[in-house]
């Protein structure tokens, strides 16, 4: 919830909207550059910044009055990273020996 703050949230919404469109353009542009091993990390960093903007401002996590909401969001992220992180450390190191 944004609560009923005095100032209008609209300028913020439009700023996030523009940032998301710029981020999309940036992702497509970065994909055309040869960044060596960094093409995938750059694409994922841009995607994560975009996703964070959507969650914090469009989904109102930043202004959430309920701390439990933030806990659920962080909990979901934690278990997702556990799933991806532990699996990939296994698969990425299987050829080591």
């Amino acid at each position: 919830m944004t609560g009923h703050s005095q100032s209008s949230p609209l300028p913020g919404y439009f700023a996030v909207f523009i940032a998301l469109l710029v981020g999309t353009g940036l992702t497509v542009f970065a994909a055309t550059l040869d960044l060596g091993p960094f093409n995938a990390p750059v694409a994922l960093v841009i995607a994560t910044v975009k996703a964070t903007l959507v969650a914090l401002f469009f989904m109102h996590v930043y202004h959430a009055s309920e701390k439990l909401t933030k806990l659920v969001v962080l909990g979901a992220l934690f278990f997702l990273l556990l799933l991806l992180g532990l699996t990939m450390t296994d698969y990425a190191t299987r050829l080591w020996s």
């Binding site: 949230p9 694409a43 969650a55 909401t69 992220l77 799933l83 991806l84 699996t87 698969y91």
Partner: protein, 236 residues
């Protein structure tokens, strides 16, 4: 409702028929609904997370084949769809704001615009799927991906079997996402009808907010699907 509860009704509650009797105030009721939606979204994160995990494993194993298969997908359509979804997320926050500030016309326009953008997304997705069907890139008996060079490795061809794994993941992940979009359109149609009937006020607009959370989540999934499926090794 039992009589004892009716006797207990005081002035404030009578003015707020939407406030359920087991909540202390509208704020608490709204926070409870919002929290429930976030818990559901957490399960959705794990649901899509399993597919992303499968994707990462196979991409790690068959990177060149994945790059060749990814290159066959129309990047312009994918980028356009990303922009379409971002626009729809903007119309959703406008709808939530319009509901909170009791702007009926803006609310109706924003909800209708969200549905229009959602339908546009699905239409573009349909064109993309059609291309894949025509090119025989749909996994199955008639799948074909012969003599497709691995980007950056002239003379080396992608393995059709490995490319088929990419297209299986492509269809399952974008298909599951599209299913979420279709469900989202249903939710927004219901919201539009309720808004048309004047069910939402500046005091009570939780369904708009909850529906909005769902829509934004589906947008976030696409924000990751776009670079992962459409943009593997495009520079080569």
């Amino acid at each position: 409702m039992p009589n004892s509860t009716l006797v207990g009704l005081h002035h404030e509650e009578q003015n707020r028929p939407e406030l359920l009797h087991h909540f202390a105030d509208p704020e608490q009721q709204r926070d409870a609904s919002s929290l429930g939606m976030w818990v559901f979204l957490a399960t959705e994160v794990m649901f899509f997370g399993g597919l992303f995990c499968a994707y990462l494993i196979y991409r790690h194993w068959y990177f060149g084949d994945f790059a060749a298969a990814s290159k066959s997908i129309n990047m312009a359509l994918g980028a356009t769809n990303t922009a379409v979804l971002i626009c729809s997320s903007l119309t959703v926050v406008l709808a939530v704001w319009a509901a909170q500030t009791a702007r009926r016309t803006l609310l109706l326009i924003s909800l209708a615009a969200t549905m229009l953008l959602g339908a546009t997304f699905l239409g573009i997705k349909g064109i993309e799927y059609r291309d894949k069907f025509v090119e025989h890139h749909l996994p199955g008996a008639s799948f074909s991906f012969d003599h497709e060079e691995i980007p950056g490795h002239p003379g080396q061809y992608a393995s059709p079997a490995h490319a088929q794994i990419f297209f299986s993941l492509y269809f399952v992940m974008t298909g599951l996402h599209a299913l979420h979009m279709i469900i989202g359109l249903g939710i927004f149609l219901w919201l539009l009808l309720m808004a048309w009937k004047g069910r939402f006020t500046s005091e009570y607009n939780t369904p708009i907010e909850i529906g909005g959370l769902y829509w934004h989540f589906v947008d976030i999934v696409w924000i990751y699907l776009f670079p992962l499926l459409y943009l593997i090794d495009r520079h080569k």
